[in-house]
């Protein structure tokens, strides 16, 4: 009986682990090293990272450039530019999104892909 319970629990834990691994769409990308970015964004220029963040507020919008949002990641607030191809994605404050971002010139974080978590 006890063994059966242990097996069930193990199955559940394994399932959860497996589920988590399988729900991250950019699990092959490394997460943005936020402290490094804040310290010197130029050193990360050209790199692509994944970012799991909560939408703060919409800072600006331009049909040609896209939408600029502030997002919160681990207590830090970062600006993320969502280009026009993702205009169809409904992004609102408080929602959690997975961003695949590229560190552009001047350290601007530009989303190359967006997935709502």
């Amino acid at each position: 009986m006890l063994i059966a319970v242990i097996l069930v629990l193990a199955a559940l834990a394994g399932g959860y682990f497996l589920f988590g691994r399988t729900s991250d769409p950019y699990r092959t990308y490394t997460s943005l090293p936020v402290p490094d970015y804040l310290q010197n964004s130029n050193s990360l220029r050209g790199n692509v990272y994944k970012l799991d963040a909560t939408i703060g507020q919409s800072l600006q919008w331009s049909p040609s450039v896209g939408r600029l949002f502030s997002v919160e990641v681990g207590g830090e607030v970062l600006p993320v530019l969502v280009p026009p191809p993702f205009n169809s994605v409904n992004i609102e404050k408080g929602q959690r999104f997975y961003f695949l971002i590229k560190v552009e010139d001047h350290g601007i974080l530009t989303a190359t892909d967006v997935k709502k978590s």
Partner: protein
């Protein structure tokens, strides 16, 4: 005979003294006698006197000018040679009068002895007493009188004049004797001439056989041609001698007359001189000697026409020794009366009138015993009044109204009869107008109208230079000027040091001082507005601190601190707040640092974080807006 009043007499005497000054220098008879050819008394004084009349007098009118001096008793104004002045307001007179008022009374034993001598002489020569013996006694007393200093040796002058007159009289006697001798000789010459002529006839008769001579002489032969010639020559000599004697007698007669006139003229000149000197006692002595010496009854004064006219017009009397005598007597009486009036008015404390009476009496009878014996204590009372009135005139002249008013009050206290209406009228008007100008000057000063201020102050100063209100106002203006000047200097110094807070704290001082400097006033206004901004920020910071909003407080101060980095209080507050808002401050500094390094993304991240710490942050908001526009330019 017309008589003059004592007052008129006194004034006449004073005015006449000036007139007679010319007479003294140019006193001559209308027809000046020719100098004696020989014998008789010499006339040393007559020659220059004559010259004076003939020279200056005839050509220029008179020695002292063309006009005869005129005195108006009503206004006490003397007009002379085109000039007018008040006899009581004359520096020379005032000086002499004050000297007299300060002099001690002449009541010493010596003074009394002198007056006794003079009185004795006058008594001896008085009408009824003037016999030969008294005249001689009086003459002997003259040297005694001249020994006193106060006499100024005038008695000697009288004695000299009398002696000269007597010498002249003796000379006349000698001429008379000479004429008598000449007359006898003339008679003898006539007789001789007649006898010579008789001898001629006898010889003539005997030659022709006619006539009585032949009966007397009997048988006398007819004179020869030689005898006839000799008789004729003798006759001629006698006739010539007779003619010479006749001429000598006539010459002596002329000399006698000239001597007489000369002696009188000299004596009269002396009498007039004493009269001019107001030595009336000596006038009386001289006139009485004159009458005793010249007993022919001729007392007419030999003076010029102008003087004669003046005498006749002013006194109604012809100029005679008697006239002078009576005028001198009248003057003495007038002076006595003046001194009595002075004493009476002094008792009544009517010093103004008293002083005037004494001045009049002094003017006429400076050497009269009653004037000389007046006690110094009594004179000093008049002196005090005179001093104060002279001081009052000076104070009004220099427009010192304060002193003038004080003097008027003082004079009112010491002289019951002092009329203060005129001086007070002048003082009051001057004060009122001066105060009006001062009021205008004050208004101009308040308005900063320097031109009007200067004009009004000048006008006020001219009217009443020692006005206390003027001094006070001037002091204020000057002190204000000093303060103002110092304030301007301080302001400029603080401005150069950018010590706006000090300017702000002393702003009341600078506001008044810089009112006259528009450019500096504009600077001050700018400083004041800046300081109001600083103070406003500090107040806001204080309020935020009370709410524990340190980031807000810091930002409030920081924004102003960037604009006014020199303000110490602001800097100190900023420094105090920085530790309390360290996280916010550091985040902002990081944002700014990244922005400077053109790391827009990182910078924006820090600004966003800062706004998260202090959502109302303008720094963060501005930074965000600025960077957002860079990332997403507005379309």
């Amino acid at each position: 005979m017309k008589t003059s009043s004592p007052a008129t007499l006194g004034l006449f005497s004073w005015g006449a003294s000036l007139l007679f000054a010319s007479v003294a220098f140019a006193q001559v008879p209308d027809a000046a006698p020719a100098p004696a050819a020989g014998g008789g008394a010499p006339a040393p004084a007559a020659a220059p006197a004559q010259g004076g009349a003939a020279g200056g007098g005839q050509k220029n009118g008179s020695f002292l000018g063309k006009d005869v001096p005129a005195f108006d008793p009503g206004s006490e104004i003397l007009t002379w040679d085109g000039k007018n002045w008040n006899v009581n307001n004359n520096r020379v007179f005032q000086a002499r009068f004050e000297k007299y008022l300060n002099a001690p009374e002449q009541t010493t034993a010596i003074d009394k002895q002198y007056q006794a001598v003079i009185a004795q002489i006058l008594a001896l020569l008085a009408p009824g007493n003037a016999n030969t013996q008294n005249i001689d006694t009086a003459f002997k007393l003259l040297p005694v009188g001249s020994r006193f200093d106060i006499d100024a040796r005038l008695c000697d002058s009288i004695a000299d004049a009398v002696y000269s007159a007597w010498r002249a009289e003796n000379a006349q006697n000698r001429l008379a004797n000479a004429n008598a001798a000449l007359d006898a000789e003339r008679t003898q010459q006539y007789w001789n001439a007649q006898h010579v002529s008789a001898g001629d006839n006898a010889r003539e008769n005997s030659s022709t056989g006619q006539s009585g001579r032949s009966t007397k002489g009997g048988g006398q032969k007819t004179p020869s041609a030689t005898e006839t010639y000799e008789d004729t020559m003798r006759m001629t000599e006698h006739t010539k001698r007779i003619a010479e004697i006749e001429a000598q007698i006539k010459g002596n007669q002329i000399k006698r007359e000239l001597n007489s006139i000369q002696a009188k003229v000299e004596f009269q000149a002396l009498v007039l001189q004493f009269f001019l000197q107001r030595r009336f006692q000596h006038v009386l002595i001289a006139t009485r000697f004159y009458r005793a010496v010249f007993t022919d009854g001729d007392t007419k004064l030999n003076v010029g026409k102008d003087t004669k006219d003046l005498f006749e017009k002013s006194s109604g009397m012809p100029p005679t020794v008697g006239t002078i005598d009576s005028l001198a007597n009248e003057a003495l009486r007038d002076v006595r009366e003046g001194v009595q009036a002075y004493n009476f008015l002094l008792e009544k404390q009517e010093l103004e009138s008293a002083t005037k009476r004494l001045a009049e009496a002094f003017t006429v009878g400076e050497f009269v015993p009653e004037i000389r014996t007046l006690t110094r204590d009594k004179k000093r009372q008049a002196l005090e009044f005179t001093h104060k009135t002279n001081q009052l005139i000076s104070a009004i002249d220099v427009k010192d109204d304060t002193l003038a008013e004080q003097l008027v009050n003082d004079l009112g206290k010491i002289a019951k009869d002092f009329d203060n209406s005129k001086p007070m009228g002048i003082i009051g008007a001057s004060k009122q107008v001066s105060d009006m100008h001062l009021a205008k000057a004050r208004n101009a000063a308040l308005k900063g109208d320097n031109a009007t201020l200067e004009a009004e102050l000048t006008a006020a100063t001219e009217l009443w230079p020692r006005n206390p209100a003027l001094a006070e106002l001037s002091k204020k203006i000057f002190s204000q000027g000093d303060v103002q000047q110092k304030a301007v200097i301080d302001f400029e110094q603080l401005l150069s040091q950018k010590n706006y807070r000090q300017i702000y704290e002393d702003s009341p001082r600078f506001m008044g001082a810089l009112a006259f400097y528009p450019d500096k006033a504009a600077k001050l206004k700018e400083v004041m507005e800046n300081m109001k901004t600083i103070e406003g920020a500090l107040m806001r910071a204080d309020e935020m601190v009370r709410q524990n909003n340190y980031p807000g407080a810091w930002e409030s101060v920081e924004k102003i601190a960037q604009q006014f980095p020199e303000d110490n209080k602001l800097s100190k507050t900023r420094a105090d707040l920085t530790p309390h808002a360290a996280d916010f401050v550091r985040t902002l500094q990081d944002a700014q640092d990244m922005e400077k390094r053109d790391q827009i993304g990182s910078s924006l991240a820090f600004y966003l974080k800062a706004r998260k710490i202090y959502p109302a942050s303008d720094f963060a908001g501005d930074g965000i807006n600025r960077l957002v526009k860079k990332i997403v330019p507005e379309s």
